[in-house]
């Protein structure tokens, strides 16, 4: 068989059912091998869309996502998706065609040093230089993507290797076993815990990546320790738990931020002290000791020194800490009182639509198995604040890289990752939506049941908010009153669509969207002055939140 055939056979052997990609000269042998191969290939309309679809697939399923592109421009278009996956530790494998080995380094047509480009935005990358190594490289790529702290891996395959005769020797990937955490340190961790009067769990994306939601919830149930989550940690502890205080950080809940500032022990679970979480680092939970639990030793002491740390699998670390006895009733009461005091206020006595209220209603109407993806900006923060999730696999948000254009293609990927009965909703903004709008073509082609809620403030809202607050209302290049007619745009792709502008339309419109048979775009006009609150201003401590002005 040809190298290209080996690749396709390997993917099938590996259990891959769907791949996302875009053809071109240097990857044509692979597209030839795909033809009538039985492996589902989804033609996205931009390689960035394909990379994000792979990310969406991976995040909504927990499996490795796969995308495919040609050399040169095809490969460079993948880069943003790889970078997003890298920042959020998402396991994807990107396969790119490369010009034939003989002309690499001659500035051949559509030649680009993709291996060089990949160094900063992948966990690892390969260029296949020996046809007999192809099978082994593929196995390693999948193993690396999903082992330890997951991440994206790129495999660049020159065209001559795709065409070369190879022997079919297929060995599928495996997850490396995770080193046991240090049992001697466990004693110290327990000692630290049992001394705490005001402990707080700060849960990040690592919990979901380790599939340790159950262990984390058992831990907080057993110990009664209050908890906050990061943007990527959302869903790992449902908001309905009595001492779950919601998201912390720049747009976190007031309760989460105030309680974290007061705590005397911060139990960091699969989180990394991102600046959007900590605000001014020196002031973040300044009086707290730190117990850091993570799979990646490089995160320990990177930004905040840990008093005790345990490195390993959260699935085994958390249960080892369950039996600590604590007397923290006073602290629990304090946290839950603050939580009650600071519930979201959905009172909006005006006609125009209040997006937080709409999203909260949408959340109530969706089943627990629905997936919501979003783009970046104010609407993203409103999703994080006002929608409730019971699994991190149900809330797909570009956290580390904050990439506009993430929402629509990741929803495509999620659509393939989940059974038809799980609703998939994209919440987008009028700015972000246009960044990968071409993927409406993929929805049309594949007749995908994806619901789109387009929150339209005719602004690059989050940037506008900062201009209002920190740049003297100088609204430089953030006004989008010349947006296209989104309903007409949707109809060009055979997508049912409707615009709403007033609050009393919300209920029926949401129902109509949820009950519609196929794809649907709900275009929601909102007031451009609506801002995201609370807000920790840049450089401030999380204790100094600005509230509605």
């Amino acid at each position: 068989m040809r190298g290209a055939d080996l690749l396709v056979s390997y993917l099938k052997e590996e259990g891959v059912t769907t791949i996302f990609g875009y053809p071109g000269g240097a990857i044509m042998p692979v597209y030839d091998a795909l033809y009538e191969s039985g492996l589902k290939h989804v033609l996205c309309r931009h390689e960035q869309g394909a990379a994000f679809a792979a990310v969406g697939y991976a995040r909504a399923s927990g499996e490795v996502g796969v995308c495919l592109a040609t050399s040169g421009p095809g490969a460079t278009n993948l880069i943003t998706g790889l970078a997003d996956a890298y920042m959020d530790s998402i396991p994807i494998v990107a396969i790119t065609g490369q010009v034939p080995s003989a002309v690499i380094g001659t500035d051949a047509f559509q030649e680009m040093d993709v291996l060089g480009l990949s160094l900063a935005c992948t966990k690892h990358s390969f260029m296949v230089t020996d046809k007999d190594e192809l099978a082994n490289v593929l196995k390693q790529a999948f193993s690396i993507a999903k082992s330890g702290r997951p991440g994206p891996v790129l495999v660049d395959i020159p065209k001559d290797i795709q065409l070369a005769e190879v022997e079919a020797a297929l060995i599928t990937s495996s997850k490396d076993s995770i080193d046991d955490f240090d049992k001697n340190t466990l004693v110290n961790a327990k000692a630290l815990l049992s001394k705490a009067k005001k402990p707080m769990v700060y849960a990040g994306g690592g919990v979901g990546m380790a599939n340790a939601e159950t262990q984390l919830q058992d831990f907080v149930d057993a110990t009664g320790i209050p908890s906050v989550t990061t943007l990527k940690g959302i869903g790992s502890i449902p908001n309905s738990k009595p001492y779950a205080l919601g998201m912390l950080g720049m747009h976190g809940t007031k309760t989460a931020n105030l309680c974290v500032q007061e705590c005397d022990l911060l139990i960091v679970v699969g989180a990394r002290f991102d600046d959007r979480v900590t605000g001014r680092l020196e002031t973040f939970a300044a009086d707290a000791r730190v117990l850091h639990l993570d799979i990646d030793p490089a995160e320990i002491n990177k930004l905040r020194t840990a008093d005790v740390s345990l490195c390993g699998d959260l699935q085994t670390i958390l249960p080892a800490l369950n039996d600590v006895k604590l007397s923290i009733a006073e602290w629990q009461e304090h946290c839950s009182a603050l939580k009650q005091e600071n519930l979201w206020d959905y009172n909006a006595p005006y006609r125009s639509i209040y997006a937080p209220k709409l999203l909260s209603r949408l959340s109530e109407k969706l089943s627990d198995t629905s997936v919501v993806t979003c783009d970046v900006g104010q609407h993203q923060m409103w999703v994080a604040q006002h929608m409730n999730f019971t699994s991190p696999k149900n809330h797909l948000s570009s956290a580390g890289l904050g990439t506009m254009g993430f929402g629509l293609p990741t929803a495509l990927g999620a659509r393939y990752a989940r059974p038809p009965e799980d609703t998939v909703v994209v919440v987008s903004g009028d700015g972000s939506f246009m960044m990968n709008v071409q993927e409406l073509g993929t929805i049309k082609r594949e007749q995908l049941n994806v619901k789109i809620v387009l929150i339209d403030n005719q602004r690059l809202g989050m940037v506008r908010q900062w201009q209002q607050l920190f740049f003297e209302e100088r609204y430089s290049e953030t006004i989008l009153t010349d947006n296209p007619d989104f309903v007409t745009l949707a109809s060009a792709f055979n997508i049912e669509a409707r615009t709403i502008t007033e609050q009393d339309e919300v209920e029926t419109a949401l129902d109509e969207m949820i009950n519609s048979k196929g794809a649907y775009l709900l275009h929601v006009r909102i007031n451009e002055a609506d801002n995201v609150w609370p807000l920790v201003p840049p450089g401030a401590s999380n204790a100094d939140m600005m509230e509605k002005v």
Partner: protein, 83 residues
């Protein structure tokens, strides 16, 4: 004023891009290369770097690289990678 220097011994799996990979991490994480000695036959890189940052911030990132098998802070304890 000169910055604190540290010497590292980095053992690698041979691959054409491994040096680039390592040097990119060194620069990106805020370290300057003062001296570099690469022995292809032993797949070993001796590197003297300087920075205001603590050397652990670099070694913990280098050891994560797939092609790096071992990082030793010379005159210090080994940070070896379990296979």
């Amino acid at each position: 004023m000169s910055l604190p220097q540290q010497q590292l011994q980095i053992d690698v799996n041979k691959s054409p891009e491994v040096l680039e990979r390592i040097l990119r991490v060194v620069r990106h994480r805020g370290f300057k290369v003062e001296l570099l000695n690469w022995k292809d036959e032993t797949s070993q890189l001796l590197l003297t770097v300087s920075s205001e940052r603590s050397i652990n911030l670099l070694t913990s990132q280098l050891i994560k690289l797939f092609d790096v098998t071992n990082v030793i802070e010379l005159n210090d304890v080994a940070q070896s990678k379990s296979a």
